[in-house]
Structures are given as C-alpha cells and as structure tokens.
C-alpha cells in the first residue's frame, strides 16, 4: 500500500483552478522531487498534503490518515507529515532548543526531559547541537533551516514535505542543508520536495514529477525525466532542444 495517496485532487482559489486533478502515490522511503515553473501548482500541491490549503475535490491520505477539514483529523495527519518552509519560520522568541522542544511538549505531551533529550539528538543529527541555547536570529540562514528540519524530525513524522527549502539561502549555504536532506533520504525517510536544485533531484530522488498548469505533466525516474524528456513543455523547462 502506498504511504501517501493523492487521488484526483483539485484546488481552486476563487475562480482560478490551480490543481486540475492530481494523482500521485508515494511508496514508503521514496524521495520525490516536484519541479515546474512558478504558478504550475507545485507548492500548492505540497501545502494541500498537510492541510495548509484545503482541497476543493479529490482525496489525500497519508498512512491511512485522511485529509479532512476538522481539527482532529488535521492533527492526526500533521503528526504523520512534517513540513519545512522556504522562509524557515522558526519561532523567534524561543531558543533553538525551545523551538525543537515546544511542539513535542504541547502537541504530544512529552515530558520536558524526554523532549529535551530528543531535541538534543535531533540537533546533533543536523550538526547544531552546540547551538541549543542560541536564538534563531543569531544563526545563518542555513543553520536556521537545519534547525527547522530538526524541529520537524523531533515530531517523528513518517514523511517530510520540503517547500523550496533552499530557495531563500545564499548559494554557499545551500550545500549544508542539502547534505542533511541527503542523509535523511539515505536513512529511508519519505520525502516530497519542491525544488529548483536539479542536480540534487537527479542524484538523490527516486522519482521526479514535472508539473505544468496544474497537472502532472510528466513523471518518472530522474534519468528518464532529465535525459529523455517526452513533452515540449518539459524540454523547454529543462532547456534542452
């Protein structure tokens, strides 16, 4: 059975239909890159998976948890998928440690010492154990994004959604974040990432989804998609003629 099942998903903002019937099944441990022009609906698709946007039609389920518009279902779903954002969105009033501890104690009711131990483990995992007591504004963008990853991992999700997580970073900081993601992929974490890092997608991903005008236009293993694009839209997007 697939881990994430996206079936005939439609999404409209007002009269504009952004997603026009998306079907995508993701197996456990798969790493999926979603590529496409801006406005193709790739970020919206990602945001629909954990209910940040409500879908207008179709269905989404993650490990059996259905996406439904009520607090209880949303919480169940969000405990299964973590999300990492382009703008990091760390809580600026809390320390790095506090950021990683908060949702564990508040949402999962984990006891403080256990939550702190988990936070330290996750921060070590992204190489930032020594920044436990620092505040987010004392960190570089790359470090902030790694904290955001640790914060999501501390909730022990089965899958992670990454929404252009390196797009707001200075070029020299991209590598450190991608290295963390690469490690996660190697450890078997299921990942769905909207990305512009084509080389990374090619190296790490099991499948690449090319979205165009609200539809999955082409899908396949990275070698096929990048080396042998079938449609003129993908060829144009990749710059091959």
């Amino acid at each position: 059975m697939s881990l994430i099942e996206i079936t005939e998903v439609r999404k409209s903002f007002g009269s504009t239909e952004v997603l026009k019937g998306i079907n995508l099944d993701v197996q456990p441990g798969e790493v999926i890159a979603i590529i496409g022009k801006s406005g193709s609906g790739k970020s919206t698709l990602l945001r629909c998976i954990n209910g940040l946007e409500m879908i207008s039609g179709g269905s989404i389920s993650v490990a059996g948890a259905q996406l439904l518009d009520d607090q209880l279902h949303l919480k169940t779903l969000r405990l299964k998928v973590g999300m990492i954002f382009q703008q990091f969105n760390l809580f600026p009033h809390l320390t790095v440690g506090g950021n990683v501890i908060l949702s564990q104690t508040v949402v999962k009711k984990t006891a403080k010492p256990a939550a702190e131990a988990m936070a330290r483990r996750m921060l070590d995992r992204v190489g930032l154990g020594h920044k436990f007591d620092a505040y987010p504004d004392e960190l570089s963008g790359g470090q902030q994004q790694r904290v955001a990853i640790a914060r999501a991992l501390a909730m022990e999700p089965i899958a992670l959604l990454c929404d252009e997580i390196t797009s707001a970073l200075d070029p020299e900081l991209v590598a450190e974040v991608l290295a963390v993601v690469r490690e996660l992929a190697a450890e078997g974490m299921t990942l769905l990432m909207v990305t512009h890092e084509m080389k990374f997608a090619r190296d790490v991903c099991s499948r690449v989804v090319f979205m165009h005008q609200g539809r999955v236009h082409e899908i396949g293993p990275p070698d096929a998609v990048f080396s042998n694009p079938q449609t003129p839209e993908l060829k144009q997007f990749l710059g091959v003629h």
Partner: protein
C-alpha cells in the same frame, strides 16, 4: 465669607484624584480582561463569532463614551435597575476600554508573520496552542507600547464620569469652583494633576517602543 488657601483647594482635588486613579485602574484591568476575550472572539475560526465581536467593537468605537455612560446610568435606571454612579461609570469604561484594546491587540496579532501560523499548524498545534505558545508571546512585544499609550485615553476618559455624578477629579473641580469662585486656579490645578498622571504613561509608552524595537530588530 470663608477664605480658601491654595493648599485647601489642592488638598481637596488630590483627595478626589484617588477616585480618578481607582476608576482608571478598574477600567484598564477590567477592560483588558474583557478585551482579551473579545480578541479571541474577533479572530475566532467561526464567522458568526467574529461578526459578533466586530459589531461590539464598532458599536463602542462608533458612539461617544458620554452616550455610553448616559445609557449605563439612565438607561438601566429606566428599566428599574438602580445603578449607582460608580457602577455605571466603571461598567461603561470597562466595556469602552475593552473595545479599543481588542482592536489594538488584533492589529498586533495580525502583524505576526503568516509563516508562524503555518509552521506551528504543521507541527500539529491547535488554534489555542498556536495563540498561547507562538503568536501571543510575539504579539505582546509589539502590543505593549500602544497599550500603555491607550491607558492615557482611559485616564482622560474618566473625566466624563463627572457628568453622571461620580465624584472624581473633574467633578471635584466643579464642586471646589462653586465654593471658591476661582475657576481659573481650580481648573488649572485639575489640568496639572491630569497631566501629572498622563505624562509618565505616554513617556513610558515611547520608551518601551524604542526598547522593544531594539529587542526584535531582526523580525
């Protein structure tokens, strides 16, 4: 005819100032609590609740405080409820303060970046948890200066309660003037006392604004 010294006048005014201070504190604290409740209603997930809070706020912001005092004092009296002046004054000021504070605070909550809501929601937090642990701690920082600034309006608002017969600083000014026939001296002193109450508040509002701005320089 009795001669009044300046000290006689000032002493009586200062005694009445106590009531201005008490009424201000009651209005501000009471208004703060009701205002917090209104804030939650105003940004509730339910549309009907939001509309109710908005109507309340519009009503109290869109009518003069004086009318609200009259209605609390005379209106309830007409219904056969005997409302003493202090109760009507306190009630009207609390409700009035709440409307303004709720709207000030709503602005502060909405100033928090949308990403903070999205990140905390993605971690599984419910709406109240988001407010309590993520949004309000940040919103409070921006809310302090305008809130303290608004307290000046509350202090000055208490002057209106003299019209329904509550004896605070302004009412005492009228009484003392009637006895001394020295309106300029008396009201001059009344004004100075109000200034002495309000100026530290507006000053601290400015200072807090500068200080808190430094504290979240990067956000």
């Amino acid at each position: 005819m009795t001669e009044f010294t300046l000290w006689d006048i000032l002493r009586n005014l200062l005694l009445a100032t106590r009531w201005t201070i008490v009424l201000s504190l009651v209005s501000f604290v009471g208004g703060g609590l009701v205002g917090l409740l209104l804030l939650f209603l105003r940004i509730s997930a339910h549309k009907a609740v939001r509309i109710f809070a908005r109507c309340y706020i519009e009503l109290f912001q869109g009518t003069p405080l004086l009318m609200q005092l009259f209605i609390a004092f005379f209106g309830l009296g007409l219904l056969g409820v005997d409302v003493p002046a202090w109760l009507a004054a306190g009630l009207a000021l609390i409700l009035w303060t709440a409307a303004f504070l709720a709207e000030i605070w709503r602005g502060c909550v909405e100033a928090i970046a949308k990403g903070q809501w999205e990140a905390s929601a993605s971690l599984g937090m419910g709406r109240l948890q988001q407010m309590r642990y993520v949004i309000l701690p940040q919103a409070m920082k921006i809310a302090v200066p305008p809130t303290v600034g608004f307290s000046v309006q509350v202090v000055k608002g208490t002057a209106l309660t003299s019209i329904i017969g509550f004896v605070e600083l302004s009412k005492a000014g009228t009484v003392v003037t009637n006895a001394t026939f020295q309106p300029f001296t008396v009201y001059g002193l009344v004004a100075l006392i109000y200034f002495a109450l309000c100026w530290p508040l507006s000053r601290s509002s400015q200072m807090l604004e500068r200080k808190l701005n430094v504290a979240h320089r990067n956000h």
